[in-house]
Symmetry: C2
Subunit: 355 residues, 2 copies
DNA sequence: ACCAGGCGTGAAAGCGCTCTTCGATAAGCC
DNA sequence: GGCTTATCGAAGAGCGCTTTCACGCCTGGT
């Protein structure tokens, strides 16, 4: 940008023929064909003579040619990468939301699932964490054409990002049903069903004094799990405490809960991480799990296996869901006109030792 | 690629003036200046008259112009993104190395640290997990000019990727001292010192029958921590078991260790995740921590706080290290000629309840 | 008043690629 | 055998941007 070296310096030397960045012209020359023919070979056009193709491929190997993606993108309008935008709500303690995001196994599973699905298509993931303070940066990034599409994760209720992204007209898939109806594809798990499975399981275990530690109620999944749990209990008066989906939050919530309702014998915790904390708190307070209190989590993340006793939980196939998001996104990219679709996964009860 | 729509179709319509993707020419026209001037305003060239600058900025806002990155990259040879390549060794159970990578808090911390450091520079991260089976894909990706530089993480001992990347001539920073001397910058923590701190602390606590669960010995950090621990004990005959840096691995290793050496009273575990598993196994086997066995971990990751008792550990400032890697990388990108440098961080003992 | 020297601006040349168009050559038909 | 009809390669026009180069204008010294 600044202080450009005079002509004849490094850059120019390197880029002349024979340098480390041969161009298509040089390949064409080496092969004795035109640039267009080289392009056709590279892009697998069927109408190239087999012998010529062979010659060109040899020339590519000999020169060590690699296409320049910027030049290609300029004309194809494709970047072969997609953004994974992780939109977190602002929290008072938000000084390190980066840390929170990247430390939560949920996001890890999302990343793994998406990467796995995209990899065979040779499409790469640009990870973009954001809170509402820099939505405009994200939007600018997307508008610049860096990516062909967007996987948008974890919007809290008032998150304006999904709408903004949709309005950009860039292909996008959201990780949950948007709270207000916007025309966008999404992949979700049936949160209410999951909560109901938890409730029914606890009842089946003979528990009658149920309670729940919910997720943040400004996050749809938090709200829906709570709502589903209550609905399954016919909206009986179930004690509930709002948590924040973190381990420490679950621990604190459990302490409060037991202080207010010491006789609880069945607990549904809206994610595994909080359940792990809750388990710990309850054990510290002398409760035996599951004898005194039966506990059901949600996610079936690795955290469920880190608990003692092993955590009964509601399985959510996060990796698969992320992979599905990626597939749907690819479909949208391939056929820009297509209407939004939604895919809903069914959760399943996984019984372990905490109930 | 195939079945191109006839001229006059969507794409053409959208790209004509007034469409959602105004070009610099349209801004120039709207502002009544030349394209060059618009470019200068956008890139903050100092030599533009204040009034003109103002007019241009208004025109940019009015048209909703956003530069096309592909076009810009084509001429600047800059992409404003860097790759975070996570190179994992092949393991027999490697069917889901993606999962392993993205579930390990270590990688999360790396990502958080790097993202945080890059963000103010408006540089984005492309996350590329790889095992040795697709090194060539990674190399191809890098050669295509997608990124300006590479952050390379977690190479096992025989990993050829660092050398390959260096030979590409693309700016790179590696996460640990390369096992064979190659001219590349790296950021590391003083592993041996960390292990020594652990050893000394255990001795100070009066423990004399020490043992260790090491990391994989084909990973430098695994080897160095073991070596440092032994060195601190003057190479006395310390029982050691090789682990795999996972929670389950730590658990298994601890069981074996106690079976062979039931009288161990001080244990150094080469990372927190394994320590968490080991703690659990030992407690299952009736050992009280720290009364019967004192345990020291390594990393000071979130796992250390998930243990009961809270884990004494060796703090490694992973986020800071990743941020430093990013900074060094940026320096290399800004000044391609500069010689490699290395930065070594000092670990610190964090005393909690397990010793 | 005249010219040298700057400074600010515009014109234009590419960056490396894709893809259409067009021409050449080979093959098929009456 | 002369014509039309496929087939395939070459030429060239951009994609949207940055940057050089040159020019016009204003200022100031003589």
């Amino acid at each position: 940008m600044r202080a450009r070296p005079p002509a004849g310096s490094r850059t120019e030397l390197m880029n002349k023929r024979g340098g480390p960045h041969p161009t298509m012209d040089q390949v064409a020359e080496a092969a004795g064909v035109s640039r267009a023919t080289v392009s056709r070979v590279i892009n697998g056009a069927p109408s190239v003579d087999a012998k010529i193709r062979e010659v060109v491929q040899r020339a590519i190997a000999a020169t060590g040619y690699v296409p320049n993606v910027a030049a290609r993108s300029l004309v194809t309008r494709r970047s072969n990468s997609v953004a994974l935008v992780i939109s977190e709500p602002d929290r008072p303690d938000n000084h390190s939301f980066l840390n929170r995001i990247f430390t939560d196994p949920y996001f890890g599973r999302i990343t793994a699932g998406a990467t796995g699905a995209l990899r065979p298509h040779d499409i790469h993931l640009v990870v973009i964490p954001t809170d509402s303070s820099d939505h405009h940066q994200v939007v600018r990034y997307l508008r610049q054409g860096h990516v062909d599409g967007v996987l948008l994760i974890s919007s809290h209720e008032q998150d304006t990002l999904p709408r903004q992204v949709v309005e950009l007209g860039i292909p996008a898939v959201v990780s949950a049903r948007p709270t207000s109806p916007i025309p966008v594809s999404f992949v979700d798990v049936d949160q209410r069903l999951g909560a109901r499975l938890a409730a029914e399981h606890l009842l089946e275990r003979g528990r009658r004094r149920l309670a729940t530690i919910s997720g943040p109620l400004d996050i749809p999944s938090g709200l829906e799990r709570l709502d589903g749990f209550r609905a399954a209990l016919a909206f009986a008066d179930v004690p509930s405490i709002e948590g924040d989906f973190t381990r420490a939050g679950g621990e604190a919530a459990a302490r409060r809960l037991l202080a207010e309702h010491p006789d609880v014998d069945g607990l549904f915790v809206a994610n595994d991480l909080m359940a792990e904390g809750a388990l710990r708190a309850m054990q510290d307070l002398g409760r035996r799990i599951p004898e005194d209190v039966a506990v059901v989590g949600f996610d079936d993340s690795s955290a469920a296996l880190d608990c003692r006793p092993l955590l009964t939980t509601i399985r959510q196939p996060v990796e698969e869901m992320a992979a599905e998001m990626a597939e749907v996104l690819l479909a949208h990219i391939a056929a820009p006109g297509r209407l939004p679709r939604s895919v809903t996964f069914q959760p399943a009860l996984v019984i372990r030792d905490s109930t």
